[in-house]
Subunit: 419 residues, 2 copies
């Protein structure tokens, strides 16, 4: 894409009330715009990142057999009364002109359970899992962490259905692995830890995936040996020791919850009477699990981890583009050379280029914006590089620059992107 | 995908209150589920169709330079007060716990205009266009037409920004062409007509794209010579004649509005003070256009047009799968042959296969479901076809069947799909 055609501009200041690093950088660099507290528009650059995260999650969900659906945001009151959750205070409620009561979904157990009931009869219909990537709403009183705590936010929610707890347990472990893959692909492998959390009334424990960063809203107790953690809610109950190795020297870390998984068991099957007939002809409740990842929150977490003073440093898999091509100077020769590179690459699906073709913008401004936007590779075409029939390449996360002959450019870029 | 693993099942009856063909067929065939009036869940088959429609629209919007964003559904009251549309009765309104007033967006002029204002300074920043594919909400009193009239519905809304009316006019014509391409790709070419409609207070006329079907909610006056139409609102004003050739013999047709385009001109630039500085240094209001397509409605319209007594007949481009592979009979040889074909095709991106591998389902039931679901090609493997080392192929929209040798199958399928 040509930067001159992008309707947004980088370099704006973030509103003063935005204290979080992710919101400041994402707004300054033109990835998101704030409509009101906890409610953001994804601008073209941010939308590209969101779609990359969405596709990573979709691939991994499909890989563990998830069937994708799309459920509504608008829910009827009756469904939430069945589970005694209509009074949940963070749920937005509204009335239609005809007087009907609705809520806006912040989760979808109340919708998926009666839906699935229409199709499940026998043990032969089990197990299966269903997911969606869909907008949720939550009436947060304080949304001060940018994309980390949204009032409106995209979420992937997966629900699984089983004939017994053992099968639920096996799938639960599968999802755990899948989640680690997702976070690793998004660039959060080193910083993300499985964390024991309270299971509520229906299960002893659930698990969170916590990404350690100084700016996290949560606090976790991490065992440096086992690389697993315990969250604040249950650290007393666990006697301040690692549940795996009983190590008492846990490290207290700030962290962001990027995902969570629950064994719901019969919590929702019971009120909706979701049952199946087993091989012996006996009716039993279906065992359920649920598994969430907030897409915006994940994007915010990536920025909290991957940035420096100058701006964002996107991991390749979620970067809006692979290469930021900058033409410096107004000469026709420079423009033609840069344009030719850009056009060559437009055909190349493996390399996505943002081409800063803007006239009347200084080299200093272009460099500063490239650092702020944070595309993994910067490629500069100038009078100086063209003298060598070359382009100057720099990785966003390294200081060193390198002159690469134009004829070798594609090979070199592919090499660097795959490092 | 293996049909045995699909958590939904075809063949259920649609609720009695569903009178529309699209809702009846889509529900019976397992594409959508009704949560309440005007609010549907897209089940795995329906979700695939929705994504295909979405991708067609996205490709065509990108092709006319649209930049994709994602705006929120939750809107602050202030924005709607600026345009005196806060009282719009079909808009859902709600309050946060903190007492803030929100509405749920049924369109996004009130959001995009102030957003764009943050970036537009000079005529050099114009023109551009921005779109999103996003869920809208509308408090409909009577939602009785299935996907044709949703309370919650996915919509593509494109907004364009120009320095003068002539440029807006040129882009408007470009969008017209793009819309016809979209409807043609979705299989509605022959039935869809440009229709003059009231422009409201800000423009003489707007245009609708109306798909003619006996079950449409609208009525249009079609000129059989010019192939353009006039809608009911303005037929008096147009003196019951074709605005192009003055033909008075217009045909009255029932139709579904599948898209609409408006020249907004300054209607929203004025209240939000969206201006730019022209080449002579003079401040002027930005000229705007807006262009909508409802995705669910388009899907519903496709079904209204493409069905017969037995079920849906999906046009290839929006079909959930390309081939419905049926194995008939319980023999091991049959299963292995069908499985091998299915596995071969899983690798082949150009051919998507739904494999009806279910045991204990009669041939009659499988045939009936295949007709109901409406995938363009049916491929049957049975003891009889295997005797000839062949598969029996049938197009959903033709009666004749054809035996094709397994070794020629891929070529034949690709040929038939591209006919």
């Amino acid at each position: 894409m040509k930067q001159s055609q992008l309707f947004t501009k980088a370099g704006k200041e973030a509103p003063k009330e935005e204290k979080s690093i992710n919101a400041q950088l994402l707004m300054r660099a033109g990835f998101v715009d704030k409509l009101m507290a906890g409610v953001y528009t994804y601008l073209p650059l941010g939308f590209r990142v969101l779609k990359k995260i969405e596709n990573i999650i979709r691939e991994e969900m499909n890989d563990i057999g998830g069937q994708e659906v799309l459920m509504p945001a608008l829910h009827p009151k009756e469904n939430w009364q069945k589970t005694n959750r209509w009074q949940y205070e963070e749920m937005f409620k509204l009335k239609s002109r005809a007087g009907k009561d609705f809520s806006l979904g912040w989760t979808h157990e109340e919708i998926i359970t009666p839906l699935v009931k229409k199709f499940v009869r026998s043990y032969k219909d089990l197990p299966f899992s269903v997911y969606q990537i869909q907008d949720k709403f939550r009436d947060e009183l304080r949304s001060k962490s940018g994309l980390l705590r949204g009032v409106e936010f995209a979420m992937k929610d997966l629900y699984s259905f089983h004939s017994d707890e053992a099968d639920l347990g096996r799938y639960y472990e599968k999802v755990k692995k899948s989640y680690f893959k997702i976070f690793a692909r998004c660039g959060l492998k080193k910083e993300t830890f499985l964390t024991l959390a309270s299971g509520g009334s229906f299960s002893q424990y659930s698990h969170e995936f916590q990404t350690v960063t100084p700016f996290g809203e949560d606090e976790i107790y991490l065992c440096p040996k086992c690389k697993i953690a315990v969250n604040k809610e249950i650290i007393e109950k666990e006697k301040h020791q690692c549940p795996q190795c009983q190590n008492k020297k846990l490290e207290i870390k700030k962290a962001i919850e990027v995902g969570n998984i629950f064994k719901l068991k019969e919590k929702f099957s019971q009120p909706f009477n979701l049952t199946f007939v087993d091989a012996k002809g006996k009716s039993k409740p279906v065992q359920m699990g649920c598994y969430g990842i907030g897409l915006g929150r994940l994007m915010g977490a990536v920025v909290e981890i991957w940035h420096d003073k100058k701006g964002i440093i996107w991991p390749k898999a979620v970067a809006p583009f692979d290469v930021h091509l900058l033409s410096l100077g107004e000469g026709k020769e420079i423009k033609n050379a840069a344009k030719k590179i850009y056009q060559d690459y437009r055909q190349e699906e493996k390399i996505e280029v943002l081409y800063d073709d803007r006239a009347g913008v200084t080299a200093g401004e272009k460099f500063a914006e490239a650092d702020l936007i944070g595309i993994p590779l910067r490629a500069v075409v100038s009078a100086r590089t063209l003298k060598e029939e070359a382009v100057e390449i720099k990785k966003r996360n390294e200081e060193k620059v390198k002159l690469v002959k134009i004829k070798n450019l594609k090979r070199e870029i592919l090499k660097l992107l795959n490092e």
